[in-house]
């Protein structure tokens, strides 16, 4: 089955019970499509309406295209400092 692997951290890793989540969506697709597909997985109800996403270590917009080789991270509200 086609999937995109998403990195998770902190409260999102707790919510989904994993740090690397296989999201059932076929690349290339948009960041928004990856997030939408995550909502139907266990823990997906804990995502906010528009979570932060980084593609290849760069903050990315919902319409950004994701390739199968990209590193995708769905990121909880940051709280460094």
């Amino acid at each position: 089955m086609a999937h995109v692997t998403v990195l998770l951290f902190a409260s999102y890793a707790d919510a989904f019970g994993t740090r690397t989540l296989e999201v059932p969506v076929r690349a290339p697709c948009t960041v928004a499509e990856v997030v939408d597909a995550m909502r139907s997985l266990p823990g997906g109800d804990r995502l906010p309406s528009e979570p932060l996403v980084a593609v290849n270590h760069v903050w990315s917009a919902p319409e950004t295209l994701v390739q199968s080789t990209d590193e995708v991270a769905v990121i909880p509200p940051v709280a460094g400092g």
Partner: protein, 150 residues
């Protein structure tokens, strides 16, 4: 004198003096700095420590981007930033920033820019440990107040 921007994400204790030494130089008349430390209370709850977790490769890159933006915005400043990750106790420094410049205003302005910007852009999270043994991730977007970090 070092490059105009030094940044790192580290598991080791922070050393502000070492960061200051990185940015100091005979052309610098002003060195402004900032240290964020774990404090003992957050929204009325006693805090004993904080786990700092980072998306390390991106956090390192984003920290460097913030430093380089400061250098672009205040030409001539030198910036050094270290962010610690791992489990810290009350009083430990979580972030240290030093900025040198010929004059004081750019150094003071750039330090403020760096701390404000890294807090919203660098993928680092903190889980507070409360005195009752519970732990919780800090969500600045869900809280009217800020956390026990700086």
């Amino acid at each position: 004198m070092a490059d105009a921007a030094f940044t790192d994400v580290t598991h080791a204790p922070l050393d502000l003096g070492a960061l200051i030494a990185r940015v100091a130089g005979p052309d610098a008349g002003a060195i402004a700095s900032f240290v964020g430390t774990v404090r003992n209370v957050h929204e009325g709850r006693a805090v004993t420590g904080i786990d700092y977790e980072a998306y390390e490769p991106m956090a390192s890159l984003e920290l460097a981007r913030v430093a380089n933006e400061a250098v672009a915005r205040w030409p001539g400043v030198r910036v050094a930033i270290s962010h610690r990750v791992g489990t810290l106790v009350v009083g430990d420094a979580s972030v240290a920033i030093a900025v040198a410049s010929a004059r004081r205003a750019p150094a003071l302005d750039a330090v403020r820019f760096v701390i404000e910007t890294l807090k919203v852009r660098v993928p680092i999270w903190k889980r507070e440990h409360y005195v009752d043994g519970t732990r919780a991730w800090v969500d600045p977007t869900a809280s009217a107040h800020e956390s026990a970090g700086a």
